[in-house]
Protein backbone atom coordinates (compact mmCIF):
# COMPACT_ATOMS: atom_id res chain seq x y z
CA UNK A 1 0.00 0.00 0.00
CA UNK A 2 2.85 2.35 0.92
CA UNK A 3 4.52 1.68 -2.39
CA UNK A 4 1.31 2.27 -4.35
CA UNK A 5 0.69 5.57 -2.58
CA UNK A 6 4.27 6.65 -3.16
CA UNK A 7 4.09 5.74 -6.79
CA UNK A 8 0.82 7.61 -7.26
CA UNK A 9 2.15 10.71 -5.56
CA UNK A 10 5.24 10.79 -7.71
CA UNK A 11 3.38 10.26 -10.89
CA UNK A 12 1.33 13.32 -9.95
CA UNK A 13 4.47 15.26 -9.10
CA UNK A 14 6.24 14.32 -12.28
CA UNK A 15 3.17 15.05 -14.37
CA UNK A 16 2.79 18.49 -12.82
CA UNK A 17 6.44 19.32 -13.04
CA UNK A 18 7.19 18.24 -16.55
CA UNK A 19 3.98 19.56 -17.97
CA UNK A 20 5.62 22.95 -17.69
CA UNK A 21 7.90 22.10 -20.56
CA UNK A 22 5.05 21.37 -22.97
CA UNK A 23 4.05 23.86 -25.54
CA UNK A 24 0.31 24.21 -25.41
CA UNK A 25 -1.65 25.13 -28.52
CA UNK A 26 -2.56 28.75 -28.51
CA UNK A 27 -6.25 28.66 -29.42
CA UNK A 28 -7.28 31.68 -27.36
CA UNK A 29 -6.84 35.33 -27.90
CA UNK A 30 -3.24 36.33 -28.46
CA UNK A 31 -1.57 37.39 -25.25
CA UNK A 32 0.13 40.70 -25.12
CA UNK A 33 3.80 40.40 -25.88
CA UNK A 34 5.70 40.39 -22.62
CA UNK A 35 8.12 43.13 -22.01
CA UNK A 36 11.80 42.29 -22.01
CA UNK A 37 11.89 42.73 -18.24
CA UNK A 38 8.87 40.45 -17.63
CA UNK A 39 10.28 37.83 -19.95
CA UNK A 40 13.54 38.00 -18.15
CA UNK A 41 11.81 37.50 -14.80
CA UNK A 42 10.18 34.25 -15.88
CA UNK A 43 13.45 32.41 -15.24
CA UNK A 44 15.96 32.69 -12.52
CA UNK A 45 18.67 30.63 -10.85
CA UNK A 46 19.14 30.93 -7.11
CA UNK A 47 22.07 29.75 -5.06
CA UNK A 48 22.32 29.94 -1.31
CA UNK A 49 22.53 28.20 1.98
CA UNK A 50 20.30 27.64 4.93
CA UNK A 51 20.46 25.95 8.31
CA UNK A 52 18.13 25.02 11.07
CA UNK A 53 16.82 22.40 13.37
CA UNK A 54 14.99 19.14 12.97
CA UNK A 55 12.88 16.90 15.16
CA UNK A 56 12.93 13.16 14.60
CA UNK A 57 10.35 10.47 14.99
CA UNK A 58 11.50 6.85 14.94
CA UNK A 59 8.48 4.80 14.01
CA UNK A 60 8.96 1.05 14.63
CA UNK A 61 7.98 -1.18 11.74
CA UNK A 62 8.75 -4.33 13.70
CA UNK A 63 10.11 -4.57 17.21
CA UNK A 64 13.01 -6.84 18.12
CA UNK A 65 14.35 -7.76 21.49
CA UNK A 66 17.21 -9.66 23.04
CA UNK A 67 15.37 -10.19 26.30
CA UNK A 68 12.69 -12.83 25.79
CA UNK A 69 10.30 -13.24 28.74
CA UNK A 70 9.42 -16.79 29.66
CA UNK A 71 6.88 -16.17 32.42
CA UNK A 72 5.47 -12.70 31.82
CA UNK A 73 4.10 -10.56 29.02
CA UNK A 74 6.62 -9.21 26.53
CA UNK A 75 4.75 -5.90 26.53
CA UNK A 76 6.14 -5.17 29.99
CA UNK A 77 9.61 -4.81 28.46
CA UNK A 78 8.47 -3.06 25.29
CA UNK A 79 10.45 -0.08 24.06
CA UNK A 80 8.83 3.32 24.27
CA UNK A 81 9.98 5.80 21.61
CA UNK A 82 9.82 9.54 21.84
CA UNK A 83 8.22 11.45 18.97
CA UNK A 84 9.56 14.74 17.57
CA UNK A 85 11.12 15.50 20.93
CA UNK A 86 14.88 15.63 20.45
CA UNK A 87 16.35 18.48 18.43
CA UNK A 88 18.84 17.89 15.69
CA UNK A 89 20.45 20.29 13.26
CA UNK A 90 21.14 20.58 9.58
CA UNK A 91 22.97 22.74 7.08
CA UNK A 92 21.91 22.96 3.45
CA UNK A 93 23.23 24.25 0.16
CA UNK A 94 20.38 25.17 -2.14
CA UNK A 95 20.35 25.49 -5.91
CA UNK A 96 16.95 26.46 -7.30
CA UNK A 97 15.74 27.06 -10.82
CA UNK A 98 12.64 29.28 -10.98
CA UNK A 99 10.37 29.13 -13.98
CA UNK A 100 6.96 30.81 -14.19
CA UNK A 101 5.98 30.35 -10.57
CA UNK A 102 7.49 26.90 -10.17
CA UNK A 103 10.90 26.18 -8.75
CA UNK A 104 12.99 23.04 -9.06
CA UNK A 105 15.36 22.87 -6.15
CA UNK A 106 18.30 20.63 -5.26
CA UNK A 107 19.26 20.93 -1.61
CA UNK A 108 22.19 18.77 -0.47
CA UNK A 109 22.09 18.72 3.31
CA UNK A 110 24.17 17.55 6.21
CA UNK A 111 21.71 16.46 8.89
CA UNK A 112 22.35 15.45 12.47
CA UNK A 113 19.28 13.87 14.00
CA UNK A 114 18.45 12.30 17.35
CA UNK A 115 15.78 10.15 18.89
CA UNK A 116 15.44 8.25 22.14
CA UNK A 117 13.63 5.28 23.59
CA UNK A 118 13.57 3.43 26.86
CA UNK A 119 12.48 0.11 28.28
CA UNK A 120 12.24 -1.27 31.79
CA UNK A 121 12.66 -4.59 33.53
CA UNK A 122 11.53 -5.76 36.92
CA UNK A 123 12.43 -8.85 38.92
CA UNK A 124 10.55 -9.52 42.12
CA UNK A 125 9.50 -12.09 44.67
CA UNK A 126 5.78 -12.34 45.26
CA UNK A 127 6.41 -13.68 48.76
CA UNK A 128 8.83 -10.95 49.77
CA UNK A 129 8.33 -7.50 48.30
CA UNK A 130 11.77 -6.42 49.48
CA UNK A 131 13.31 -8.74 46.92
CA UNK A 132 12.78 -6.48 43.96
CA UNK A 133 15.10 -5.00 41.37
CA UNK A 134 14.02 -2.51 38.72
CA UNK A 135 16.15 -1.47 35.78
CA UNK A 136 15.55 1.20 33.17
CA UNK A 137 17.52 1.45 29.93
CA UNK A 138 17.49 4.90 28.30
CA UNK A 139 18.88 4.81 24.79
CA UNK A 140 19.76 7.83 22.69
CA UNK A 141 20.46 7.35 19.03
CA UNK A 142 22.43 9.94 17.06
CA UNK A 143 22.52 9.71 13.28
CA UNK A 144 24.36 11.81 10.74
CA UNK A 145 23.17 11.79 7.15
CA UNK A 146 24.08 13.42 3.86
CA UNK A 147 20.68 14.16 2.32
CA UNK A 148 20.04 14.74 -1.36
CA UNK A 149 16.54 16.15 -1.70
CA UNK A 150 14.88 17.31 -4.88
CA UNK A 151 11.98 19.71 -4.33
CA UNK A 152 9.37 21.22 -6.59
CA UNK A 153 8.04 24.50 -5.21
CA UNK A 154 5.10 26.60 -6.23
CA UNK A 155 4.97 30.26 -5.30
CA UNK A 156 1.47 31.09 -4.09
CA UNK A 157 2.02 34.87 -4.25
CA UNK A 158 4.44 36.81 -6.36
CA UNK A 159 4.98 39.84 -4.19
CA UNK A 160 7.86 40.86 -2.06
CA UNK A 161 6.74 38.22 0.44
CA UNK A 162 6.31 35.02 -1.51
CA UNK A 163 4.85 32.07 0.38
CA UNK A 164 5.23 28.73 -1.33
CA UNK A 165 4.41 25.07 -0.99
CA UNK A 166 6.85 22.32 -1.87
CA UNK A 167 6.94 18.58 -2.38
CA UNK A 168 9.95 16.43 -3.01
CA UNK A 169 11.89 13.26 -2.71
CA UNK A 170 15.11 12.70 -0.84
CA UNK A 171 17.83 10.11 -0.55
CA UNK A 172 19.82 9.99 2.70
CA UNK A 173 23.29 8.50 2.93
CA UNK A 174 24.40 7.43 6.38
CA UNK A 175 27.60 9.13 7.47
CA UNK A 176 27.85 8.15 11.10
CA UNK A 177 25.81 6.73 13.96
CA UNK A 178 26.33 6.13 17.62
CA UNK A 179 24.25 5.08 20.52
CA UNK A 180 24.38 6.00 24.20
CA UNK A 181 22.76 3.72 26.74
CA UNK A 182 22.22 4.84 30.29
CA UNK A 183 21.21 2.22 32.83
CA UNK A 184 19.50 3.28 36.01
CA UNK A 185 17.40 1.44 38.51
CA UNK A 186 16.17 0.85 41.99
CA UNK A 187 17.44 -1.95 44.18
CA UNK A 188 15.10 -2.85 47.01
CA UNK A 189 16.89 -6.08 47.85
CA UNK A 190 20.11 -4.75 49.31
CA UNK A 191 18.47 -3.08 52.27
CA UNK A 192 16.34 0.00 51.81
CA UNK A 193 15.54 1.65 48.51
CA UNK A 194 18.73 2.26 46.63
CA UNK A 195 18.56 4.17 43.41
CA UNK A 196 21.53 4.03 41.11
CA UNK A 197 22.58 5.23 37.67
CA UNK A 198 25.56 3.96 35.73
CA UNK A 199 27.76 5.90 33.36
CA UNK A 200 26.33 5.90 29.87
CA UNK A 201 27.72 3.31 27.51
CA UNK A 202 28.51 4.93 24.16
CA UNK A 203 29.15 2.74 21.17
CA UNK A 204 29.59 3.32 17.46
CA UNK A 205 26.50 2.01 15.75
CA UNK A 206 27.03 2.75 12.06
CA UNK A 207 26.80 -0.94 11.23
CA UNK A 208 23.26 -1.03 12.59
CA UNK A 209 21.88 1.39 10.01
CA UNK A 210 21.65 1.89 6.26
CA UNK A 211 20.84 4.58 3.73
CA UNK A 212 17.21 5.31 3.12
CA UNK A 213 14.93 7.46 1.03
CA UNK A 214 11.68 9.24 1.55
CA UNK A 215 9.15 11.84 0.50
CA UNK A 216 8.86 15.38 1.74
CA UNK A 217 6.27 18.13 1.72
CA UNK A 218 6.24 21.51 3.33
CA UNK A 219 5.61 25.19 3.28
CA UNK A 220 7.89 28.19 3.26
CA UNK A 221 8.17 31.85 2.59
CA UNK A 222 10.64 33.94 0.63
CA UNK A 223 11.25 37.53 1.42
CA UNK A 224 12.96 39.63 -1.18
CA UNK A 225 15.45 41.90 0.41
CA UNK A 226 16.96 43.81 -2.44
CA UNK A 227 18.66 41.31 -4.67
CA UNK A 228 18.91 38.81 -1.84
CA UNK A 229 16.13 36.45 -0.96
CA UNK A 230 15.63 35.41 2.66
CA UNK A 231 13.98 32.04 3.02
CA UNK A 232 12.24 30.30 5.88
CA UNK A 233 10.72 26.88 5.37
CA UNK A 234 9.39 23.91 7.27
CA UNK A 235 8.88 20.48 5.80
CA UNK A 236 7.92 17.02 6.88
CA UNK A 237 10.27 14.29 5.67
CA UNK A 238 8.71 10.85 5.69
CA UNK A 239 11.10 7.92 5.55
CA UNK A 240 9.93 5.29 3.10
CA UNK A 241 12.55 2.68 3.81
CA UNK A 242 13.63 0.80 6.91
CA UNK A 243 16.78 2.53 8.17
CA UNK A 244 18.01 -0.56 10.02
CA UNK A 245 20.62 -2.89 8.64
CA UNK A 246 18.61 -6.06 9.12
CA UNK A 247 21.66 -8.31 8.99
CA UNK A 248 23.42 -6.49 11.81
CA UNK A 249 20.66 -5.79 14.29
CA UNK A 250 22.31 -8.14 16.82
CA UNK A 251 25.81 -7.42 15.55
CA UNK A 252 27.04 -5.13 18.29
CA UNK A 253 28.26 -7.30 21.17
CA UNK A 254 28.04 -4.57 23.78
CA UNK A 255 24.50 -3.65 22.88
CA UNK A 256 23.39 -7.27 22.60
CA UNK A 257 25.03 -7.92 25.96
CA UNK A 258 22.83 -5.34 27.65
CA UNK A 259 19.77 -6.68 25.92
CA UNK A 260 19.34 -4.21 23.06
CA UNK A 261 18.41 -5.17 19.52
CA UNK A 262 17.76 -2.65 16.77
CA UNK A 263 14.11 -2.47 15.69
CA UNK A 264 13.10 -2.02 12.09
CA UNK A 265 12.41 1.69 11.91
CA UNK A 266 10.99 4.33 9.62
CA UNK A 267 12.62 7.67 10.36
CA UNK A 268 10.48 10.78 9.95
CA UNK A 269 11.62 14.35 10.50
CA UNK A 270 10.21 17.82 10.80
CA UNK A 271 12.89 20.03 9.26
CA UNK A 272 12.88 23.79 9.84
CA UNK A 273 15.45 25.95 8.07
CA UNK A 274 16.25 29.58 7.43
CA UNK A 275 18.75 31.02 5.02
CA UNK A 276 19.54 33.31 2.13
CA UNK A 277 19.49 32.82 -1.64
CA UNK A 278 21.32 34.84 -4.24
CA UNK A 279 20.15 35.36 -7.84
CA UNK A 280 22.46 34.23 -10.59
CA UNK A 281 20.96 36.27 -13.46
CA UNK A 282 21.04 40.09 -13.63
CA UNK A 283 19.97 42.51 -16.36
CA UNK A 284 22.08 45.30 -15.00
CA UNK A 285 23.80 46.23 -11.80
CA UNK A 286 20.87 48.22 -10.46
CA UNK A 287 18.08 45.97 -11.69
CA UNK A 288 15.84 44.54 -9.00
CA UNK A 289 15.43 40.98 -10.09
CA UNK A 290 12.17 40.27 -8.40
CA UNK A 291 10.46 43.46 -7.57
CA UNK A 292 8.30 44.40 -10.52
Amino acid sequence: MKVILSLTLFILISTTGFSQFKKKPNNTLPKPKPSQQNKFLEKQWWLGFKAGTNFAQAKPIQAYTVMVPTNYAAALNAKSYDSFLKTGSQATLEATFYFKGFSFSVQPTYRHTRFTYFNQFRWYNTENSAETLELRYDQEQKLDYADFPLFIKYDILHDKIRPYVQVGIFYSMLINANKAVKISGTDYASGGTNQFANEAIIVGAKDLFENYWGLAAGIGVNYNLGNVRVVLDASYWKGMRNITNTKNRFGNDRLAGIGDAQDDIDLNNIVISAGVLFPMRFLSSNFKTLDR
Binding site: S6, L7, S14, I61, P69, N71, N125, T132, L133, R241
Partner: protein
Protein backbone atom coordinates in the same frame (compact mmCIF):
# COMPACT_ATOMS: atom_id res chain seq x y z
CA UNK B 1 12.46 12.47 -19.57
CA UNK B 2 9.29 11.67 -17.66
CA UNK B 3 9.83 7.93 -18.23
CA UNK B 4 13.40 8.15 -16.99
CA UNK B 5 12.12 9.85 -13.86
CA UNK B 6 9.48 7.18 -13.29
CA UNK B 7 11.97 4.40 -13.96
CA UNK B 8 14.35 5.87 -11.38
CA UNK B 9 11.48 6.04 -8.92
CA UNK B 10 10.65 2.38 -9.44
CA UNK B 11 14.29 1.42 -8.92
CA UNK B 12 14.32 3.30 -5.63
CA UNK B 13 11.08 1.68 -4.54
CA UNK B 14 12.46 -1.73 -5.44
CA UNK B 15 15.40 -1.21 -3.13
CA UNK B 16 13.28 -1.12 0.00
CA UNK B 17 14.80 -2.75 3.04
CA UNK B 18 11.81 -4.21 4.79
CA UNK B 19 12.09 -6.86 7.48
CA UNK B 20 14.28 -9.76 6.43
CA UNK B 21 13.11 -13.10 7.90
CA UNK B 22 16.07 -14.97 6.43
CA UNK B 23 18.52 -12.65 8.17
CA UNK B 24 16.45 -12.79 11.35
CA UNK B 25 16.78 -16.58 11.36
CA UNK B 26 20.44 -16.64 10.45
CA UNK B 27 21.65 -14.50 13.31
CA UNK B 28 20.09 -13.49 16.59
CA UNK B 29 20.92 -12.99 20.24
CA UNK B 30 18.39 -13.88 22.91
CA UNK B 31 18.36 -13.77 26.67
CA UNK B 32 15.52 -15.81 28.11
CA UNK B 33 14.30 -14.00 31.18
CA UNK B 34 12.24 -15.12 34.15
CA UNK B 35 11.15 -12.28 36.42
CA UNK B 36 11.15 -14.34 39.61
CA UNK B 37 13.78 -12.73 41.80
CA UNK B 38 15.10 -16.02 43.20
CA UNK B 39 15.05 -18.00 39.98
CA UNK B 40 18.34 -19.08 38.42
CA UNK B 41 18.88 -21.06 35.25
CA UNK B 42 21.92 -22.17 33.31
CA UNK B 43 22.24 -23.76 29.89
CA UNK B 44 23.62 -27.25 29.32
CA UNK B 45 22.99 -28.02 25.66
CA UNK B 46 21.02 -26.78 22.66
CA UNK B 47 19.87 -28.70 19.59
CA UNK B 48 18.05 -27.50 16.50
CA UNK B 49 14.81 -29.39 15.94
CA UNK B 50 13.32 -30.40 12.56
CA UNK B 51 10.85 -27.49 12.66
CA UNK B 52 13.76 -25.05 12.61
CA UNK B 53 13.36 -24.18 16.27
CA UNK B 54 15.66 -25.05 19.11
CA UNK B 55 15.45 -27.29 22.16
CA UNK B 56 17.47 -26.16 25.16
CA UNK B 57 18.35 -28.31 28.13
CA UNK B 58 19.21 -26.37 31.23
CA UNK B 59 19.59 -26.61 34.96
CA UNK B 60 17.77 -24.55 37.54
CA UNK B 61 18.12 -23.68 41.18
CA UNK B 62 15.96 -25.71 43.54
CA UNK B 63 14.78 -24.50 46.91
CA UNK B 64 14.67 -27.96 48.42
CA UNK B 65 17.72 -29.69 46.99
CA UNK B 66 21.43 -29.08 46.75
CA UNK B 67 21.42 -30.55 43.28
CA UNK B 68 20.42 -28.65 40.17
CA UNK B 69 16.90 -29.08 38.87
CA UNK B 70 15.99 -29.63 35.22
CA UNK B 71 14.73 -27.01 32.79
CA UNK B 72 13.60 -27.54 29.20
CA UNK B 73 12.99 -24.61 26.87
CA UNK B 74 11.58 -24.71 23.36
CA UNK B 75 12.08 -21.70 21.10
CA UNK B 76 11.19 -21.09 17.47
CA UNK B 77 13.49 -20.55 14.51
CA UNK B 78 13.81 -16.86 15.38
CA UNK B 79 14.63 -17.56 19.01
CA UNK B 80 11.14 -16.62 20.14
CA UNK B 81 9.80 -18.29 23.26
CA UNK B 82 7.48 -21.24 22.60
CA UNK B 83 7.26 -23.22 25.83
CA UNK B 84 9.18 -24.19 28.94
CA UNK B 85 9.10 -27.11 31.33
CA UNK B 86 10.39 -26.89 34.86
CA UNK B 87 10.78 -30.61 35.45
CA UNK B 88 9.56 -31.86 38.79
CA UNK B 89 12.30 -31.71 41.39
CA UNK B 90 12.21 -35.49 41.86
CA UNK B 91 14.67 -35.47 38.97
CA UNK B 92 17.92 -33.55 39.38
CA UNK B 93 21.48 -33.13 38.09
CA UNK B 94 20.89 -33.14 34.33
CA UNK B 95 23.89 -33.64 32.06
CA UNK B 96 24.37 -33.02 28.37
CA UNK B 97 24.44 -33.47 25.58
CA UNK B 98 20.92 -33.76 24.23
CA UNK B 99 21.33 -36.92 22.18
CA UNK B 100 19.23 -37.43 19.06
CA UNK B 101 17.82 -40.90 18.44
CA UNK B 102 14.82 -41.66 16.20
CA UNK B 103 13.58 -38.06 16.20
CA UNK B 104 13.65 -37.94 19.98
CA UNK B 105 16.12 -36.28 22.28
CA UNK B 106 17.62 -38.00 25.31
CA UNK B 107 19.53 -36.84 28.33
CA UNK B 108 20.64 -38.36 31.62
CA UNK B 109 19.82 -37.16 35.11
CA UNK B 110 19.22 -38.81 38.47
CA UNK B 111 16.57 -39.07 41.13
CA UNK B 112 16.79 -36.59 43.97
CA UNK B 113 16.34 -39.15 46.72
CA UNK B 114 17.79 -42.46 45.47
CA UNK B 115 20.48 -40.85 43.28
CA UNK B 116 19.66 -43.37 40.57
CA UNK B 117 20.47 -42.45 37.00
CA UNK B 118 17.52 -41.88 34.71
CA UNK B 119 17.38 -41.61 30.93
CA UNK B 120 14.77 -39.05 29.86
CA UNK B 121 13.22 -38.91 26.41
CA UNK B 122 12.01 -35.56 25.06
CA UNK B 123 10.18 -34.84 21.82
CA UNK B 124 10.93 -32.01 19.42
CA UNK B 125 8.43 -29.77 21.19
CA UNK B 126 10.33 -29.98 24.44
CA UNK B 127 7.90 -32.28 26.20
CA UNK B 128 9.06 -35.28 28.22
CA UNK B 129 7.57 -38.39 26.67
CA UNK B 130 9.25 -41.12 28.71
CA UNK B 131 11.71 -41.85 31.47
CA UNK B 132 13.85 -44.97 31.98
CA UNK B 133 15.72 -46.07 35.10
CA UNK B 134 19.32 -46.91 34.29
CA UNK B 135 20.52 -47.86 37.74
CA UNK B 136 23.89 -46.21 38.15
CA UNK B 137 24.25 -43.20 40.39
CA UNK B 138 25.67 -39.75 39.75
CA UNK B 139 25.66 -39.44 35.95
CA UNK B 140 28.74 -37.40 35.02
CA UNK B 141 29.12 -37.46 31.23
CA UNK B 142 27.35 -38.89 28.21
CA UNK B 143 27.77 -39.28 24.46
CA UNK B 144 25.87 -40.81 21.58
CA UNK B 145 27.27 -44.08 20.22
CA UNK B 146 25.31 -45.17 17.16
CA UNK B 147 21.91 -46.25 18.40
CA UNK B 148 23.12 -46.40 21.98
CA UNK B 149 24.47 -43.96 24.49
CA UNK B 150 27.70 -43.95 26.45
CA UNK B 151 27.47 -42.98 30.08
CA UNK B 152 30.11 -42.20 32.62
CA UNK B 153 28.77 -42.21 36.15
CA UNK B 154 30.05 -42.37 39.66
CA UNK B 155 29.20 -45.23 41.99
CA UNK B 156 29.35 -43.53 45.38
CA UNK B 157 28.74 -46.77 47.28
CA UNK B 158 31.83 -48.56 45.95
CA UNK B 159 33.67 -45.36 45.03
CA UNK B 160 34.10 -46.30 41.41
CA UNK B 161 33.98 -44.53 38.07
CA UNK B 162 31.61 -46.41 35.79
CA UNK B 163 31.46 -46.52 32.01
CA UNK B 164 28.31 -48.03 30.50
CA UNK B 165 26.68 -48.57 27.15
CA UNK B 166 22.99 -47.73 27.51
CA UNK B 167 20.17 -48.41 25.05
CA UNK B 168 17.41 -45.85 24.34
CA UNK B 169 15.19 -47.82 26.72
CA UNK B 170 17.67 -47.51 29.55
CA UNK B 171 19.04 -51.05 29.57
CA UNK B 172 22.78 -51.42 30.11
CA UNK B 173 24.38 -53.73 27.57
CA UNK B 174 27.93 -53.50 28.90
CA UNK B 175 29.58 -51.71 31.75
CA UNK B 176 32.84 -51.51 33.63
CA UNK B 177 33.76 -49.93 36.96
CA UNK B 178 37.16 -48.56 37.97
CA UNK B 179 38.19 -47.69 41.50
CA UNK B 180 38.88 -44.05 42.25
CA UNK B 181 40.93 -45.04 45.28
CA UNK B 182 40.17 -45.43 48.96
CA UNK B 183 39.27 -42.61 51.33
CA UNK B 184 36.84 -39.74 51.38
CA UNK B 185 39.31 -37.13 50.18
CA UNK B 186 39.37 -38.40 46.62
CA UNK B 187 35.58 -38.46 46.50
CA UNK B 188 35.13 -34.94 47.80
CA UNK B 189 35.73 -33.02 44.53
CA UNK B 190 33.37 -35.39 42.73
CA UNK B 191 30.50 -34.77 45.14
CA UNK B 192 31.25 -31.04 45.16
CA UNK B 193 31.04 -31.09 41.37
CA UNK B 194 27.49 -32.42 41.58
CA UNK B 195 26.53 -30.05 44.39
CA UNK B 196 28.05 -27.16 42.38
CA UNK B 197 29.91 -25.97 45.44
CA UNK B 198 33.35 -26.24 43.87
CA UNK B 199 34.93 -26.15 40.43
CA UNK B 200 33.26 -28.13 37.70
CA UNK B 201 35.26 -31.17 36.68
CA UNK B 202 35.71 -31.94 32.97
CA UNK B 203 34.12 -35.37 32.92
CA UNK B 204 33.77 -36.81 29.43
CA UNK B 205 33.20 -40.14 27.74
CA UNK B 206 33.59 -41.32 24.15
CA UNK B 207 34.70 -44.00 21.80
CA UNK B 208 37.48 -44.16 19.25
CA UNK B 209 37.52 -47.30 17.09
CA UNK B 210 36.68 -50.13 19.43
CA UNK B 211 38.16 -48.42 22.44
CA UNK B 212 36.14 -46.47 24.93
CA UNK B 213 37.63 -43.58 26.81
CA UNK B 214 36.53 -41.51 29.73
CA UNK B 215 37.91 -38.54 31.60
CA UNK B 216 37.18 -39.29 35.22
CA UNK B 217 38.69 -40.34 38.47
CA UNK B 218 40.82 -43.44 38.50
CA UNK B 219 43.39 -44.39 41.11
CA UNK B 220 43.21 -41.13 43.09
CA UNK B 221 43.55 -38.82 40.13
CA UNK B 222 41.59 -37.28 37.30
CA UNK B 223 42.68 -39.36 34.31
CA UNK B 224 41.91 -39.88 30.67
CA UNK B 225 41.48 -43.64 30.64
CA UNK B 226 41.07 -46.05 27.73
CA UNK B 227 39.16 -49.28 28.19
CA UNK B 228 37.66 -52.11 26.14
CA UNK B 229 34.95 -52.54 28.81
CA UNK B 230 36.19 -56.11 29.32
CA UNK B 231 39.42 -55.88 31.25
CA UNK B 232 39.24 -54.90 34.90
CA UNK B 233 41.85 -52.23 34.46
CA UNK B 234 42.10 -49.52 31.77
CA UNK B 235 44.50 -50.30 28.93
CA UNK B 236 45.82 -46.79 28.81
CA UNK B 237 45.88 -43.96 31.31
CA UNK B 238 46.86 -40.32 30.94
CA UNK B 239 47.11 -39.22 34.52
CA UNK B 240 46.43 -35.75 35.84
CA UNK B 241 47.31 -34.24 39.23
CA UNK B 242 44.48 -35.41 41.50
CA UNK B 243 41.81 -32.80 40.67
CA UNK B 244 44.35 -30.00 40.07
CA UNK B 245 45.47 -31.11 36.63
CA UNK B 246 44.43 -33.28 33.75
CA UNK B 247 42.56 -33.24 30.48
CA UNK B 248 39.87 -30.62 30.18
CA UNK B 249 38.58 -31.70 26.75
CA UNK B 250 39.44 -34.39 24.21
CA UNK B 251 38.12 -34.97 20.70
CA UNK B 252 39.55 -37.82 18.62
CA UNK B 253 41.06 -37.01 15.24
CA UNK B 254 42.30 -39.45 12.62
CA UNK B 255 45.48 -41.43 12.88
CA UNK B 256 45.21 -42.02 16.61
CA UNK B 257 45.58 -38.33 17.37
CA UNK B 258 43.44 -36.18 19.63
CA UNK B 259 42.60 -32.52 19.79
CA UNK B 260 43.18 -31.91 23.47
CA UNK B 261 42.94 -29.19 26.05
CA UNK B 262 44.50 -29.70 29.44
CA UNK B 263 44.81 -27.79 32.69
CA UNK B 264 47.42 -27.86 35.38
CA UNK B 265 47.04 -25.93 38.64
CA UNK B 266 45.03 -23.24 36.89
CA UNK B 267 47.07 -23.00 33.69
CA UNK B 268 45.50 -23.99 30.40
CA UNK B 269 47.09 -25.57 27.34
CA UNK B 270 45.70 -26.38 23.89
CA UNK B 271 47.03 -29.31 21.86
CA UNK B 272 45.26 -29.34 18.48
CA UNK B 273 46.95 -32.54 17.28
CA UNK B 274 48.30 -34.56 20.17
CA UNK B 275 49.50 -38.12 20.06
CA UNK B 276 48.00 -39.92 23.02
CA UNK B 277 49.08 -43.35 24.04
CA UNK B 278 46.01 -45.54 24.46
CA UNK B 279 48.06 -48.10 26.33
CA UNK B 280 50.31 -47.81 29.33
CA UNK B 281 50.54 -44.95 31.79
CA UNK B 282 51.53 -41.42 30.90
CA UNK B 283 51.14 -37.99 32.43
CA UNK B 284 49.07 -35.15 31.03
CA UNK B 285 51.72 -32.64 32.06
CA UNK B 286 54.20 -34.38 29.72
CA UNK B 287 51.99 -33.56 26.75
CA UNK B 288 53.06 -29.90 26.75
CA UNK B 289 50.89 -27.77 24.50
CA UNK B 290 50.29 -24.11 23.76
CA UNK B 291 49.75 -22.14 26.98
CA UNK B 292 46.83 -19.71 27.02
CA UNK B 293 47.27 -17.34 29.96
CA UNK B 294 44.24 -15.28 28.82
CA UNK B 295 41.84 -18.01 29.86
CA UNK B 296 40.22 -18.34 33.25
CA UNK B 297 42.00 -20.73 35.60
CA UNK B 298 41.06 -24.36 34.88
CA UNK B 299 38.86 -23.11 32.05
CA UNK B 300 36.01 -25.07 30.56
CA UNK B 301 36.87 -25.86 26.95
CA UNK B 302 34.76 -27.01 24.02
CA UNK B 303 36.37 -28.48 20.92
CA UNK B 304 34.62 -28.79 17.59
CA UNK B 305 35.80 -30.55 14.45
CA UNK B 306 34.37 -28.66 11.54
CA UNK B 307 34.99 -27.32 8.04
CA UNK B 308 35.32 -23.60 7.37
CA UNK B 309 35.85 -22.33 3.82
CA UNK B 310 36.72 -25.87 2.66
CA UNK B 311 39.39 -26.17 5.33
CA UNK B 312 39.19 -28.83 8.02
CA UNK B 313 39.69 -27.08 11.29
CA UNK B 314 39.65 -27.76 14.99
CA UNK B 315 37.79 -25.01 16.77
CA UNK B 316 38.42 -24.32 20.44
CA UNK B 317 36.06 -22.23 22.57
CA UNK B 318 36.68 -21.14 26.11
CA UNK B 319 36.24 -18.32 28.64
CA UNK B 320 38.73 -15.51 29.14
CA UNK B 321 39.59 -13.71 32.35
CA UNK B 322 37.85 -10.60 30.97
CA UNK B 323 34.57 -12.52 30.73
CA UNK B 324 34.68 -12.97 26.99
CA UNK B 325 34.48 -16.05 24.80
CA UNK B 326 37.72 -16.95 23.06
CA UNK B 327 37.60 -18.85 19.79
CA UNK B 328 40.72 -20.41 18.32
CA UNK B 329 40.72 -22.26 15.03
CA UNK B 330 43.53 -24.50 13.87
CA UNK B 331 43.88 -26.36 10.62
CA UNK B 332 43.26 -30.04 11.06
CA UNK B 333 45.59 -32.61 9.51
CA UNK B 334 44.12 -34.14 6.34
CA UNK B 335 41.83 -37.07 6.98
CA UNK B 336 42.86 -40.52 5.84
CA UNK B 337 40.33 -42.67 4.09
Amino acid sequence: MRYIFLFALLVVLGCSNDSDPAADKASFTRIYDNNKFNAAYYPIDIKQTPDGGYLILGGRRLENSNFAGIYLLKVDAFGGFVSEVEVDDELVAPIGPLMLNNNNYYFFCMTNVGLQTQLVRVDGDGLITDQFAVGNSYPAAAAADGNNFLLQSYNHVDKRSVVSVVSPTGSVSSSKEFSIGAGDAVEEPIINHFLQTSKKLPFLVGKVGNTYYFNGFYNYTLSLAFTNLSADEPQGIVQGQQDDGGISQAVPLDGGKFALARFNFGDNYFLPSATVSTSGISSSSDLGGNPLPELTPNASVKILRTTINARNVVLYASDTRSKQIALLGMTRPPEHS
